[in-house]
């Protein structure tokens, strides 16, 4: 009988080992790009750049490599920090090379395969061309693409990695960009409570408060912050007062007067980790955001019609509704995303 105790202990031990191996195996088996079941078809052209283990790992190495900046101090990961859902937490505008400050809030590297345009003010329409912007921006990495490639070419560690990912050691613009894209499109946030409820996973369910918040959300927020990405990917003027530099948003890349003060609709996923909010990080918390939508929407040029219904600006949200909405928004935080080891600097 006393052996039973030992056998039990042994079983527990074996079991715990087994579980550990499973996790290890999961990490070892690279699954490539997989669209979550509750997401639409991705927009990114995966056929032109299928995600492979080697390509993804190369992209990750590049994403965290300071060689991308002029004086080798800043990497993509400096302003897109995983623990802040790939934003630069606490910075209203991005803080780049030599303590230079940009003019806009660092947007999240998240669900980019479902994005049709990039940057708060548009201008970039292909993820494979997007990294050129921060690399060459004076207040971000202040480097030339040509120099970055030359630095990578002289780093022996990359020769093997480019060969593994693309078949030869040659380092070209296209390969560099595609590797970065492979990493970035793998930054998928789809394991929040909301997602699990939608996918009916392991009995996940909203609380009454969350559910009520969800209903209010669909009624008052969901047309711009469209499910399941929580953005419709469009550019809209949400009635913010123009900032001191008079950033006109999308207008800056189209010069169409109908685009003045329109900015890309941000996703509402992971708000817990991504404050401050808006294109210039002017709102330090969600209370300020609510205050804006309920009381401070300005009648600027091209104000979105959805925020100006029947001559009343803004969205009517009372304090009861607000607490319910906050409860729902809280279900959009994805802890697995910010802790996913696969996406971390290795």
């Amino acid at each position: 009988m006393r052996y039973v105790k030992y056998i039990l202990v042994l079983l527990v031990f074996v079991y715990s080992c087994k579980k550990g191996n499973d996790i290890q195996q999961q990490i070892d088996t690279f699954l490539g790009f997989q669209a979550p079941k509750n997401f639409p078809q991705p927009i990114y052209n995966l056929a032109n750049n299928p995600v492979t283990k080697d390509g993804f790992e190369l992209g990750r190495k590049l994403f965290y490599d300071v060689r991308l900046s002029r004086n080798n101090t800043i990497s993509c990961g400096s302003c897109h920090i995983q623990s802040s859902a790939f934003t630069q937490h606490g910075h209203d505008v991005s803080h780049g090379i030599e303590d230079r400050l940009g003019t806009r809030n660092s947007p999240p590297i998240m669900n980019l395969a479902w994005n049709k345009a990039f940057m708060w003010g548009g201008g970039v329409f292909d993820l494979d061309l997007q990294p050129i912007t921060p690399i060459t921006a004076h207040e971000e990495m202040d480097e030339s693409l040509e120099n970055v490639l030359n630095k990578l070419r002289s780093a022996t560690a990359y020769k093997e990695k480019f060969k593994a990912a693309f078949g030869s050691e040659e380092i070209t613009t296209a390969r560099f960009m595609k590797a970065l894209s492979q990493f970035m499109i793998m930054c998928i946030s789809s394991n929040s409570k909301y997602d699990k409820v939608m996918r009916k996973e392991s009995n996940a369910a909203f609380t009454t408060l969350e559910l009520e918040g969800y209903e209010i959300f669909k009624d008052k927020c969901g047309s711009c912050h469209k499910e399941p990405l929580f953005t419709d990917g469009e550019f809209r003027n949400n009635g913010l007062a123009p900032n001191p530099i008079n950033d006109k948003g999308l207008y800056g890349s189209t010069l169409l007067s109908t685009d003045k003060y329109k900015f890309k609709v941000p996703s509402l996923r992971n708000l817990k980790y991504t404050a401050p909010f808006m294109h210039d990080g002017r709102f330090l918390n969600l209370d300020a955001v609510f205050q804006h939508y309920t009381n401070e929407v300005q009648a600027t040029e091209n104000l979105d019609p959805l925020l100006n219904k029947n001559g009343t600006r803004g969205i009517a949200i009372n304090s009861d509704e607000k607490s319910k909405l906050l409860a729902f928004l809280n279900t959009l935080n994805d802890e697995e995303f910010i802790n996913n080891k696969l996406l971390a600097e290795q």
Binding site: N48, I132, T173
Partner: protein, 280 residues
């Protein structure tokens, strides 16, 4: 005897005529029968050759503003030629993009392959067509590689912030440029014209792509044959940037990149190119 002399002279004349290029038979137009043709972009400034930074003897535009030039670079693409009998040939897309750099004499030729034939018309685009401007990164090689040319300061021709190429880039100095934000706050009296924008990815925006047509009849058609190098020698008069259809002042518009005014300058492009002669 006289008759014999006449006979010999006639034969000699006939022989000479047959030797002359003019009566050489025009080859059949066959798309597969390709031969070399080059188009030379010879940058000039009014009645003078181009010299960079010639501060001692600057150029003067129609507004009476003295200026020097420090950089001139532009894309030439989508080359098309038409024979004297009206057959048109479009150079294969992948071999039809050229970056002409004033500082690098080696880049002044756009070298293409076209069917053997006699050509009286040349067309090309100043800039990069919208289709190529929206292509995947793999297709952007050679002069279209966003990494080529290095940084903006060293002569890069790609805008990252608004995905697209700078079609035409002219920079220089003029004492009329003010030292404030409107002019050159560094005090170097620089003017910069970076003309780009292909018309927008999904919504129509400014389109500064300009198609240029050059009639070769007057200054010499291009007789393209496999055994020689026909060269269409064009003058590119940079003075016409200021003095073209739209005359403008450097002082009033010292920096033109993205703005309505970029189209005003692009509209002057057609006046830049004149056919000087053809070497056959």
């Amino acid at each position: 005897m006289k008759r014999n002399i006449l006979y010999l002279v006639t034969i000699l004349i006939l022989f000479l005529i047959s030797c002359s290029k003019k009566n050489e038979p025009t080859p059949d137009f066959e798309e597969e029968n390709l031969a070399p043709l080059s188009i030379e972009f010879d940058n000039i400034v009014g009645g003078r050759t181009l010299t960079f930074n010639n501060a001692a003897v600057p150029y003067t535009n129609a507004k009476g503003e003295a200026f020097t030039i420090s950089m001139i670079q532009y894309f030439i693409s989508n080359v098309e030629v038409t024979t004297t009998s009206g057959q048109k040939y479009t150079v294969k897309q992948d071999s039809s993009y050229f970056l002409i750099k004033g500082s690098d004499r080696g880049t002044r030729f756009a070298k293409v392959k076209v069917p053997e034939g006699d050509y009286s018309k040349l067309t090309f685009i100043v800039g990069v067509d919208s289709l190529r401007s929206t292509m995947p990164v793999d297709k952007r090689t050679g002069v279209l590689d966003p990494a080529s040319g290095g940084s903006m300061e060293s002569g890069g021709m790609y805008w990252g912030w608004n995905s697209g190429y700078i079609f035409f880039r002219l920079e220089g100095n003029s004492n009329v440029v003010t030292d404030d934000q409107q002019g050159d706050p560094t005090g170097k009296k620089q003017f910069k014209y970076h003309i780009g924008f292909f018309g927008g990815y999904d919504v129509p925006t400014i389109n500064n792509i300009r198609k240029i047509t050059v009639d070769l009849n007057e200054a010499g058609i291009a007789r393209v044959r496999k055994d020689r190098q026909s060269n269409i020698h064009l003058f590119v008069d940079l003075m016409k940037v200021f003095n073209g259809k739209n005359t403008f002042s450097i002082k009033e518009n010292p920096n033109v990149m993205f703005g309505e005014f970029s189209s005003t300058i692009a509209n002057n492009f057609s006046g830049l190119f004149t056919h000087d002669h053809t070497e056959n």
